[in-house]
């Protein structure tokens, strides 16, 4: 089994609430001159399913990349189990990543390997398990996502929904503490979508994980999430339980939760006025 990074174990006092698993403290991040996150602070409760929602391009995937250390915050702290990810050197970062699993939107399966080898990959890279044990663990993980029978298929032979379930089995192969899901429901048919949502909830509860879901699917995400964070314009627009977020009076959250086409998030991309493009209708074309 993978080694744990030194200093990650925390003495727990039963009387005190558990420390959040991940925490953003006044985090600012941007690409070039474009600011994506502007002084954002929030916590990801331990053992819960936290949903990150918001308009496209709002920085949700960036949050996952910051927690995974693929990007470094320009200001503020990104804490992973109490440790600042920005201060990790390469070795510490790689140790921390062994405690994370990430499900990419595309699945990101290795296309030259079978389903079995994809799930076995992290085990073979990080453990000294015999091939017989690797086989057992891989089949257990595949069984958990209902794809034990698909072990010999290549990624090109499975559907999008199945590919994401294989990627989920691979993400949990090393029994991580935190699993991050980037758009796990995008492009799935209703059956696959329901299966994926149920799996995320079940795995979180049975394996004692902490989960972060980035998703646009309101109904499915609100159904399985314990905690919802809405990101907009680089800051937190609302956070709380799904019920609390639904009741929010913030105009932006109201627009998002009710899927309204126009509101604080404009339907039209900013540009010249319609009169400048088409002329004054009443006075005829100029």
């Amino acid at each position: 089994m993978p080694e744990k990074a030194p200093g990650f174990f925390i003495e727990m006092d039963p009387a005190t609430p558990p420390q959040p698993f991940a925490e953003f403290r006044d985090v600012t991040f941007g690409y070039g001159t474009r600011t994506i996150l502007d002084g954002v602070s929030f916590t990801v409760p331990r053992g819960k399913v936290t949903a990150l929602m918001g308009a496209s391009g709002g920085g949700k995937t960036t949050v996952l990349r910051l927690i995974g250390g693929q990007q470094r915050a320009q200001r503020g702290e990104v804490l992973f189990d109490g440790q600042d990810v920005g201060k990790f050197d390469n070795a510490a970062l790689y140790l921390a990543r062994r405690r994370m699993g990430m499900l990419f939107q595309s699945g990101a399966l290795f296309t030259d390997m079978t389903v079995f080898d994809n799930v076995a990959f992290p085990l073979r890279e990080h453990t000294q398990l015999s091939e017989a044990l690797v086989r057992d663990v891989v089949l257990m993980k595949l069984d958990a996502v209902g794809l034990r029978g698909a072990r010999d298929l290549m990624p090109s032979e499975v559907s999008g929904g199945m590919a994401r379930r294989v990627a989920l089995a691979r993400a949990i192969a090393l029994d991580p503490d935190l699993v991050m899901y980037d758009e796990p429901f995008a492009g799935l048919d209703p059956i696959s979508l329901g299966t994926a949502a149920r799996l995320i909830r079940q795995l979180n509860d049975t394996l004692g994980l902490t989960s972060i879901i980035v998703s646009h699917d309101l109904e499915e995400t609100f159904r399985i999430a314990d905690h919802v964070i809405i990101l907009a314009n680089g800051s937190i627009a609302a956070q709380g339980t799904p019920a609390e977020v639904r009741e929010s009076v913030d105009p932006l959250v109201h627009q998002f939760v009710n899927a309204l086409p126009d509101g604080p998030v404009r339907f039209h991309y900013p540009g010249v006025s319609i009169e400048d493009d088409f002329g004054n209708v009443e006075g005829g074309r100029s």
Binding site: R97, M102, E125, L174
Partner: protein, 260 residues
């Protein structure tokens, strides 16, 4: 002209320096895990199979035709001076010292270099490299380094095959078709080709070309924009940059080798 503005020149110089630094860092990271990679030689072996075996057909056929043409051209020139017995020696020296390493490297660029760039670029576009990083596996060590060392090992072997098949082509044209004495063909070759100075030069060249072509192909793939257009541009850059680098380095190496 607007591009003479000092700010633009400064920006261009800074960009090129940054690219150079990125390339140098990647090169050092590829060289670094050399010993580690050899402990997991199966990864390198698979890539040698992919880069080497699958390039054999194009290398063999090209070598044969180059040998044919060399046999004809050299015979045409030599028979004017009544020296057609030296055909074997000239064909062999041309192939072993020059054409074998260079043409094999150019073919390797087109056959294997482009496939390396496209493979790495598409893995990046499909987030496979990111997924590997998130699994705490360094893609440079796990994906790029085995391909790099496989290219370095494969290139001299392919150049040797190219030269050997080329000599056979020269033999077919010179001896079997044009009637050059076979004893003179092989005897002059045996007497005139020095293992260290001639064959050694070719081997050194092909090793240098192996480093160059494979590194350029991997760098272009790893630095490619993760889009279809980005991968296609990277593949084109691999062919152009690696081909020019091979020809430029060939001149430098030849000049150095003649001077020592």
């Amino acid at each position: 002209m607007s591009w003479w503005k000092p700010a633009d020149v400064g920006f261009a110089v800074r960009s090129h320096l940054a690219n150079l630094g990125y390339g140098a860092k990647l090169f050092m990271r590829l060289l670094g895990p050399g010993a580690q990679i050899m402990r997991r030689f199966s990864l390198v072996r698979d890539q040698i199979h992919f880069l080497g075996n699958y390039s054999l057909a194009i290398i063999g056929v090209s070598g044969l035709f180059v040998g044919f043409v060399l046999g004809l051209q050299m015979y045409y020139a030599l028979q004017r001076y009544g020296s057609s017995e030296a055909l074997g020696l000239l064909v062999t020296l041309s192939l072993v010292r020059e054409l074998g390493p260079v043409v094999a490297a150019l073919l390797f660029t087109g056959r294997a270099g482009t496939s390396l760039t496209a493979e790495i670029g598409l893995m990046k576009a499909d987030e496979q490299l990111s997924a590997m990083e998130m699994m705490a596996v360094d893609p440079v060590q796990r994906i790029l380094a085995p391909r790099f060392w496989a290219g370095v090992i494969t290139m001299p072997l392919l150049a040797a095959v190219f030269s050997a098949v080329g000599i056979m082509g020269g033999y077919v044209v010179g001896v079997l078709m044009l009637g050059v004495d076979p004893g003179a063909f092989w005897g002059q070759m045996q007497g005139g080709v020095d293992v260290w100075r001639d064959v050694g030069n070719g081997v050194i060249k092909s090793i240098v070309f192996g480093f160059t072509v494979t590194f350029i192909a991997l760098l272009q793939g790893y630095a490619a924009q993760p889009t279809p257009e980005g991968v296609s541009r990277a593949t084109t850059r691999t062919v152009v940059t690696a081909s020019l680098a091979v020809l430029g380095l060939d001149f430098l190496l030849t000049a150095m080798m003649f001077s020592i």
